[in-house]
Amino acid sequence: MWSKVYTGFGYWDVYTWLIFFAIAAGLVLWLRSLGRKDYKEGTDQDEIFYGGNVVPEEGSEIQVPASSAYWGFTEALKGYYEVLVEMHSGDAREYVGYMVLTASVLAVLVLL
């Protein structure tokens, strides 16, 4: 419409995107309004499903900790991650060592 960003291969228009988003949001809200209205908040209907067990009061017992997020991803790339985390050893001399290594590789490439 009125403010397109032309890349060399197409264009991007913020306001068109926002209009489409508004239309989609309207559809979603209309679909939600077709639900049942006899819903009581604060009673047992509101609780999460915890496998049939009693939901603990303390929130920290039912939260998945951040260390176990994306376990499948890290497990699948275990070989890559072991090498990569070993390289980030925290030894200050390696920080300078990588810079000297990059400078020498670049020097060989540029000077030849």
């Binding site: 985390v85 980030h88 050893s89 925290g90 001399r93 060592g97 000297v100």
Partner: protein, 125 residues
């Protein structure tokens, strides 16, 4: 005395640049392969010294006198004054850096109890 004049002059020529290179690699070796933090700091000082020496040597002109108009007398060439100014700035910067580096090393010793760079690795991964 005759023998000394007949020899090639060793002060000019490429000798100073060789010394710059030797100092540079000595400093780099000290930073990369020494374990004691103080020795790493000394390596950094050597590196700074090599850079300053390079700047000074670049300003020299063979047979040149001091670059002061009123005191040089009747000469053909003067050494260049600009790299001397650059080197003074770089020496002062090196001084500030060394002071901060040594005080950080002192605080590291107070916190970790060791000056071994392989022990000071709580931040990793």
């Amino acid at each position: 005395m005759r023998k000394q004049e007949a020899r090639r002059p060793a002060m000019t020529g490429n000798m100073p640049f060789l010394v710059v290179g030797i100092l540079f690699f000595l400093g780099l070796y000290a930073i990369l392969f020494e374990r004691n933090l103080i020795k790493i700091a000394i390596g950094i000082t050597l590196l700074e010294a090599s850079a300053n020496l390079l700047l000074i040597v670049l300003g020299y002109r063979t047979g040149g006198s001091i670059p002061v108009f009123t005191l040089a007398g009747d000469v053909q060439t003067m050494t260049l004054p600009t790299p001397q100014a650059l080197t003074l700035t770089a020496i002062v910067i090196g001084l500030a850096t060394s002071a901060l580096l040594l005080s950080l090393i002192m605080m590291l010793y107070k916190h970790y109890g060791t000056l071994d760079v392989r022990e000071i690795r709580r931040l990793r991964g």
